[in-house]
């Protein structure tokens, strides 16, 4: 059940994101002042229009594109950076491990969203900077999980055997240890994914991150606040899209965790 619902929701989001321009004839940025604030069900505008007469469906669909792009980029950056640091720290121990763990302590002394928000306010707005901010705040989870896993995997017999056969350190790390740590990285990535998407939306909602008129769900929700009394649909649909995406990815992540690594608790 979890698996199928999660897969279905995620698939719908991915298809929407990829095919957004072909799913609607409307340009998400084109204003039409004659048709502003039309309610859902208006002919030609299935979900209605916003204060500038832009088609809401087109904006929600294009929002999926942006959300998934940011989610995927952030997960890739954090998985690679955090994963590599965790691998090295777990393998070499001594000072790399100590430095990494203190860094992790410092990062974990800030609530995630506050850290990402502050970094974003400082490095600046826009797509590249929001990915950067989320990555800077999120890599530490991978580093900790991977380090812990490496510490236990490297004690196993096949690693000792490979080392005894004279396998070099690099090869030992990437050919023998990494494949055994990979499932944890995948599970953490799937669980982090929705956190990143929701955090991006929250940061854009607060006025940082992605700015209007770019159709990001968070900035759309932020704009919708001024029209809450007259146009509920502007607040309802972008948020619904965000919630369903998060739900799908969460369910998929739960299922992956149960399947790949039942012990892991993130």
């Amino acid at each position: 059940m979890k698996k199928y619902l999660g897969l279905a929701l995620t698939l719908v989001t991915v298809v929407t994101a990829v095919a957004a321009p072909w799913l609607t004839p409307h340009d998400p940025l084109r204003a039409d002042f004659v048709a502003s604030l039309e309610p859902p069900g208006t002919p030609g505008h299935l979900l209605g229009t916003d204060q500038l007469g832009r088609d809401l469906l087109a904006r929600v669909l294009h929002g999926a594109r942006l959300a998934l792009f940011i989610g995927v980029c952030t997960v890739l950056v954090t998985a690679v950076v955090g994963g590599l640091l965790g691998l090295v720290a777990g393998f070499i121990e001594r000072w790399p491990s100590a430095v990494l763990m203190r860094l992790a302590d410092v990062q974990l002394s800030f609530p995630f969203i506050l850290l990402a928000l502050t970094i974003n306010a400082i490095v600046g707005l826009g797509l590249r900077n929001i990915i950067l901010s989320l990555s800077a705040a999120g890599w530490v989870v991978y580093a900790r999980v991977v380090r812990g896993e490496v510490l236990s995997v490297k004690q196993r017999d096949f690693v000792h055997a490979a080392a005894a056969l004279g396998v070099g350190r690099g090869r030992l790390l990437f050919r023998h240890v990494l494949p055994n740590v990979a499932p944890s990285i995948i599970v953490v990535a799937s669980l982090q994914f929705s956190q990143f998407i929701v955090a991006e939306a929250a940061i854009s909602f607060l006025g940082f991150g992605i700015q209007p008129p770019t159709p990001a769900w968070g900035s759309m929700l932020s704009e919708s606040r001024d029209f809450l009394f007259v146009a509920w649909w502007l607040a309802a649909f972008p948020g619904l899209a965000l919630a369903l995406t998060a739900l799908g990815v969460n369910l998929l992540g739960d299922w992956l965790r149960d399947t790949l690594d039942p012990k892991l608790r993130v």
Binding site: S109, I113, L117, I122, V198, L228, G239, L240
Partner: protein, 306 residues
């Protein structure tokens, strides 16, 4: 126990020092803080005067030393916007945030813990499935969207509750529900799995076999044992409420620490940003320390391993 307490205290002190360094580093990381934080339409002469007044012409190390020395005495300088002691402003907003976080925690304990126990005891029944759906939804629905929808329903349509602000008890309802939602969903799931773990233990079988009523088996034998992981994890998660408050307070115009932080960031009021972020980080670190110490006290294995 004493060695464990001292070790954790030392570790926390180090984390606080490093976190303050990180706050300083973050604000300096964006380049020239004067250009970054000042409004666009300012004159070059004013920029220079401003830079001199705040000591940005000194070497970085001197500035760092001054920041750390000030921060440890609780002096983060003056807010650029309010022209008042930055930490004072932060402390002024603290009671509002504590009230909000406190009611969110109370709400969570009243709703989530019984729900978690109920779904564990009635495992695989309709109650369990409904509870699972509720907690999965609670974790997926973003707080700020839930907030907007509640405002639309209860403030715009039904006119039962005010849209925002602080004052009467009715102002507190929606913000605490929104802040509690995600937290409560996590705690309910946790309670369910912790209770299931305990229900599989031999001593529960014994308690049932000797003819104890179900109320006593659950109320006494199970809950007492599942309480440890629930309290620990709930304590660790409670810190995230400080992050959630940033968003919730902004939606509901709640005059707390979170909203102050967002406004300081928007106003580019960097002494206030530094004060608010540092303060939140220190509170968060102390909260984690308190949880760890409680855990060490509840479960001797923890302090021996450490």
């Amino acid at each position: 126990m004493r060695r464990y307490v001292l070790a954790r205290l030392g570790q926390s002190a180090l984390v606080v020092l490093l976190s303050l360094t990180a706050v300083f580093g973050m604000v300096r990381l964006g380049g020239d803080p004067v250009l970054l934080f000042l409004p666009m339409d300012i004159q070059a002469k004013d920029v220079d005067e401003f830079r001199e007044r705040l000591g940005f012409n000194d070497p970085l190390l001197v500035q760092y030393g001054r920041f750390m020395a000030g921060a440890l005495r609780g002096d983060f300088g003056e807010s650029l916007r309010y022209r008042r002691d930055a930490l004072g402003l932060v402390l002024e907003r603290l009671p509002a945030t504590l009230l909000l976080a406190g009611s969110a925690i109370a709400l969570t304990l009243v709703v989530a813990v019984p729900l978690g126990v109920l779904t564990a005891v009635r495992r695989d029944t309709a109650v369990d499935h409904l509870g699972t759906v509720a907690t999965v939804l609670g974790q997926a629905i973003p707080g700020f969207w839930l907030g907007l929808m509640l405002i639309y329903l209860f403030a715009v349509q039904l006119r039962w509750l005010p849209t925002g602000g602080m004052g009467t008890a009715s102002h507190l309802v929606m913000p605490s529900v929104v802040l509690a939602a995600f937290f409560a969903a996590r705690v309910a799931r946790l309670t369910r799995s912790a209770t299931l773990d305990v229900l599989n233990e031999e001593y529960i079988k014994t308690a049932r076999a000797k003819g104890l009523g179900e109320g006593r088996v659950i109320g006494k034998h199970t809950l007492r044992n599942s309480a440890i992981p629930i309290v620990t994890l709930a304590g660790l998660e409670a810190g995230q409420l400080l992050g959630g408050a940033v968003i919730t307070e902004t939606i509901f115009a709640w005059p707390g620490l979170g909203r102050l932080t967002v406004q300081a960031l928007l106003n580019r009021d960097f002494p206030l940003v530094m004060a608010a972020v540092s303060f939140t980080s220190i509170v968060y670190t102390l909260l984690n320390l308190a949880v760890d110490l409680t855990y060490g006290w509840l479960d001797p294995r923890v302090r021996i391993r450490a």
